[in-house]
Chain length 322, copies 6
């Protein structure tokens, strides 16, 4: 049993609409807080969307995700896991970006996550647009390339936009492969769909060995079969989990900037994470939640429900090691 | 053929956006109306949400459900049933609650339904939050405990909240079992999911013999199999039907206070009711529709579509008896 | 390869939120534009809803569909088709209706489409309410009756409304059969559901040989089987494709005036069109998108995604002929 | 003191969100109700917008105005008038329009109001678009032309639209003058503003003697001075009051189809009616409330607040006569 | 200059959309935090609306007010006051209410504020509905009755609702006078308007000497004159400031449960507070902000702008004493 | 009389909801269009918000402003000016920004406007955030510094943000003064208000001679007096007009990223522009309209109403010269 300092406030004690909204009602530990040394999993916000080429908004994601997360309770109803009793979890606050300078922002993010990693904390990130994953990977893959399970409707493997712009939310994993942060043979992308400019991204994927599973294949084979292949691809070595909310059908997750119709529903949105039980994750993110396009707040609530599933499998894995 | 006084106004005669919105465009019969004696099924609103522990709003439910119900026509497209020609239906108005006094409100509701029952009318209720079911059951189960088919994402079987508060929308069926209003062996709860504080509610269910079917089991076995079991559990004795709109996935029914992602879609939302054809229902409710969280009105429209399915099976059953 | 004049502006060059929104960022060709003679498929808006008996709004459809269509890219991710490289496509603008005169509006629409047909252009229409299809068919079926694949939750085969009103969005295909514009033996209607006034429309369908596939049959048999039957019904002769957005479940397409719960999801919304590959379509429409009820814009985006699927199969067919 | 049958339900007894929403919680009297003979002022809905040339929606006005009107209490806080104790008021229901036939709808409206007039009831109308006023005037001015106080941002005096269409919401008062329903010398229009096509309407006004007070003059002279002139223009002879909600600034009344910025605020919206105390009104309307553009419901609430002010001055006048 | 620990985070350092939203980005001090002893002004949330007789929602107020308050900067642009440099301010968190028990909730609130008072902290409260003021006054006026400046469109002086219910948001100040918490001769209510059930509340006001300034008088005399009278009424003795957001016109503050049209605009909403410079306030509240009815968030932003004005005059006063 | 090619489409001919939305329904002339040489005033969109430090969105401004502008008719109702008959106006399309590169975007904007200026066209710009004005001024003030009338609630004169970032929407006019694009002695800023970090911006204004008129002064002196001073400050030399929509109170203009409560209403929003009749404007912009925060579209409609007033005074001035 973990230290009660790290337990969320219960809605049985304080109603869930009350109190300052930290992630899952966990304690908030600032950069210099001494109790950070006891944290196993740290929930971190990256309120940043400067890489967005289309409709901005994910900079508001962390705050809305925190708000919605006060609806999360202590136990996973489907699996029975009680993560906050398995490992010490905390809200580590937000990385402060520079909204008008992409390079400066990436440097700040990498520095923050390098600290987190040095403290032995496994990060669970709430973005932010998908470019967020790149500076995070620079910290987490500093020593060796990682595998990755990637849920998305886009590959985010393009070379550049607008005549040579290299850092956008459509390019992070191209850069990550080029920089040696990802081992492309251990990367699987699931849910890809929608109209495309061309297939330059998928040609690149093929050339380096990234496995792309389009939505038609996903539906035809079924979730269980696809996820079994995903587990096999990443194997037992250290792996990153990146989940773009636009993997989910935009009816279930309208609050995002580049939706593509015809995706999985909310039950599958959770099930795909549960199917990754046992994978050796060194970090995870949930990105592209865009509150200005989420008038009902349903996207944020689905987003934190997915984050809770991530947290459960990560807590189980960490707990199993100790 | 029923008395044309009890037939809804047709949209072919008066456009559906016109006219004062009664339930399904039926005549409205006040407490003292002599024609109440001819009514078989009475639609009743309970605009009340004082039992809500989280986000209020269901007090506005009956009005919005009435408004949406003007879209309902005379015939069930799937089953061909024309309920208003089988039995006399009427809108019996709203029970007037006391928004600042829970016990007073419950007394008012029980008194209203005792009258309705004394008049030989089968009530079909539009809530209100789920605490509504308790004072209704006190009237309907005054003589003997009832069975119940209960669609929901929560069991509503908790003992108490906030340090001993016994009457909230999380406790009605715990009270109903304690008060002998429900026969727990003839109660089935379908669709349970989401995060939980603990399993105190489910421990209670197990201890008294209530059958809980979680959403994972529901999806794994399929609707037909689950509903066959439900029919078997309640058998042929008098039974109550309680339908919390949060049984349905929140994308299909966002207008509710305590949503849980990963539920059934709107087609199944109707099909589960159709699968209860022939059950001996003495009353039914549709609760927890919360207009402040239903910006498009889609939840209310789904709610009345479910109520129409309830009405069809109840009309069939009553009509078969006579 | 087609003339680059007819290629959409790429989002890689000009961000998709920039620029004046024509359909799919295609060039706009006015009535007198000489380049119309080179157009193979013309996208046309009919901003008109005077036939609406319930909630108006589709007059605003074309503008919102154009706006949403700027999210469409060059290639179909599922099928690999690049329609703008197969045939010359253009935005032919809107037909100007007379909002206060139904007959005048129908005459204007028929005149516009007669011109389009005379120019050898295959029209792809964005409505407008469903009465739009009637004046369009008057132009396209001027020589011989057409077959029709019709996706909808209503048959639109009623005789009249409000005591004898013959032209509403509930009557277009009754008129079209009466006027000899459709060959009823080659008409199939898919997705019919919801409550109904009576079965006068379906009795008519039966009497003239129109095949009606209700949603329960659709779900029971599955998409592939149903669509195979649909292809067989229309055969190889000239056929019209009419797609009412309310075919789709209202959760996926809330922006419409007469929704019916319990319909297909967005993936199937696209798949049913893909399943019509090879049919000899001489025109198609997507109708009943109603922006005032589409607060998130998701209905319009789904609508143009469906239009893009239509465009792909039409482009393939035209391209195959030449 | 009036008959308590005609008193509204008090929110002290039944909460204001409860109960079926009739106008101001008054009793509803159908066409054949014998108690109509005791009614002094009848509130009537005309859910119709077929005359709308731009954005439709006012057909939904009466229902939303009824809903909002349940917030109205018994006494005017500013003037102390308690209208329901001065005269018998009732909700006379809606006129059923034919949404697809303008002439048929106008005939239905005139017939309904002719009956009302024959019963000695003074009508207070909730529209509907502004064309509604024409068929109402045909009933009320059957014997002699009326004066009119008209609040609006448009004159609605145009000859025709779209090449000769004579009946739209931009032409009712041109027709009314031509048909001898209004005495132009006793007509004043207040609040006119916004961009215009041309001055054909104002040229007509000048030619027949209608007084047009533009918003710039209104603000420059002040409300008291302007309203004194208005009272003088209409004098003591029978007069009609027509209030287009777009008289008010669209920030205060966004729910309307043809807003013009730069109008009066909500305090003045009420004050201008209070300033008409004592005028000999034989009928009044509040038109162009369009719920699809009134997401917060604020326009409807302002609309019924204006209707209550109208009711107070009309009740005072009727009461003074008896 | 105050301790920098108590300074808000600057938006020049961390963007205003980033970080966990405490009131005005101040440090959060829990019940047991030792630094509470250094606090001069404590901002407190009371997420509670069980006293609401009409449309609920203010329980969500404190969270949304905190979110909006991250837009507040260090200096008052109009007066030049920099409150955080004058006195130590902190966010003291929320009082945890019991949503299903009014008496229990009131006891919890009074206990919380008694502690705050004992610690020498001046409380600035974000409600909650207006019943909140009663348990707060029970703590602050424990020794002697207070004066009060009260902005509102309702007097909240009613005796009871629904047949004898004594504790609702329409009765707090009746109770407060009865309990000796307020000195009625030193109470002024400003902005009263709208329809009313009767004048029982105002008769009571008159009988005990409370000064009621209706909106018509307010507009006729002007803000400066009215506020001079208000300052004179409360004098120099300890006074409470209670500000119901529905004082402001509902167009400027739609997010509230019982709006009344025809109120002051947002500039005046601030000016009335500035006009109270120098009054001896021992506490203040801003109540009835209801996020479910505040779709744009503008009401919350106006609410915190008003709170900042309150903070400035309170900081000046406290600073002047020391 | 101008060439009819440059006249807007009339709503009397084509309903205003129909047709592709160009600015004020004017013809669209691409970069290479030969008819550009005949244009006097060019309306240009700059869909760009990379300088936004808080809530993004203005990149969507031009499209929504074009949509709303289809409500604008031919004649100014207040002044009688018919601008499209005085000078040739056209929609010159959008400048294509690079959303992920601020310097590249500024270079593109300056190049576009340099061309426009070389063609002798006076530009009227729809932003975009306020950084837009800087690259526009670089083109327009290439030869000599300009005067400026600046409506805003912020001075936008800050030195830098986030530790040295020089180009944000809070810094454009600091840069413009530094670069010699503005003559500070001929610059007046009107409407400044809200909380502030510090007075570094206003200290700079004072040091270089920029006149800052805060909102309190504006209201105290009145519009006429303030605007007379403004005209005097800029005199007869070439002047730029920059209008941030947040000058207006956020209730009237909620769709913006950094609102400040307590500003002018919509009538004044137009009047301040009319008061600048006769000033020698060489260009003008309307910036910071942010559709994601403008759910009703009212901000965009107010924005284009302001743009039309700008157009009228510019057309008058140009017409007077020729």
């Amino acid at each position: 049993m973990t230290d009660s300092f790290f337990h969320p406030v219960s809605g049985m004690d304080l109603p869930r609409f009350a109190g300052i909204p930290s992630f899952m009602r966990l304690p908030v530990l600032g950069l210099d807080d001494a109790r950070r040394k006891d944290v196993d999993i740290g929930l971190i916000g990256v309120p940043w969307d400067s890489g967005t080429t289309n409709r901005p908004g994910p900079r508001h994601g962390p705050r809305q995700l925190r708000d919605a997360s006060t609806m999360i309770r202590a136990e996973n109803g489907a699996t029975g896991v009680r993560p906050f009793e398995l490992v010490n979890c905390a809200d580590l606050g937000d990385v402060g970006p520079n909204p008008a300078d992409i390079q400066d922002s990436m440097a700040r993010i990498t520095a923050f996550y390098s600290d987190v990693r040095a403290q032995g904390i496994t990060p669970l990130t709430a973005g932010g647009d998908h470019l967020t994953s790149l500076p995070v990977l620079r910290a987490l893959a500093a020593d060796a390339p990682l595998g990755m399970v990637h849920f998305d409707s886009h590959t985010d493997l393009f070379h550049s936009y607008f005549g040579g712009t290299m850092y956008t939310h459509g390019t992070p994993f191209r850069r990550a492969v080029e920089e040696g942060l990802l081992d492309p043979k251990r990367v699987v992308q699931i849910g890809i769909r929608g109209t495309q400019y061309d297939s330059e991204d998928q040609d690149f994927a093929k050339s380096v060995g990234i496995r792309v599973i389009k939505i038609e294949e996903y539906f035809a084979r079924g979730l269980d079969d696809v996820m079994a292949e995903a587990r096999e691809i990443v194997g037992t070595a250290p792996t990153y989990l990146s989940y773009d909310i636009d993997f989910v059908d935009p009816t279930f997750a309208p609050g995002t900037g580049t939706p593509e119709v015809g995706g999985p529903n909310s039950f599958e949105a959770l099930q795909v994470v549960r199917a990754l039980e046992g994978v050796n994750f060194v970090g995870a993110d949930l990105v592209e939640v865009s509150p200005p396009f989420d008038s009902s707040g349903g996207t944020a609530f689905l987003g934190v429900s997915i984050m809770f599933e991530m947290l459960c499998i990560m807590a189980n894995a960490i707990s199993a090691k100790t």
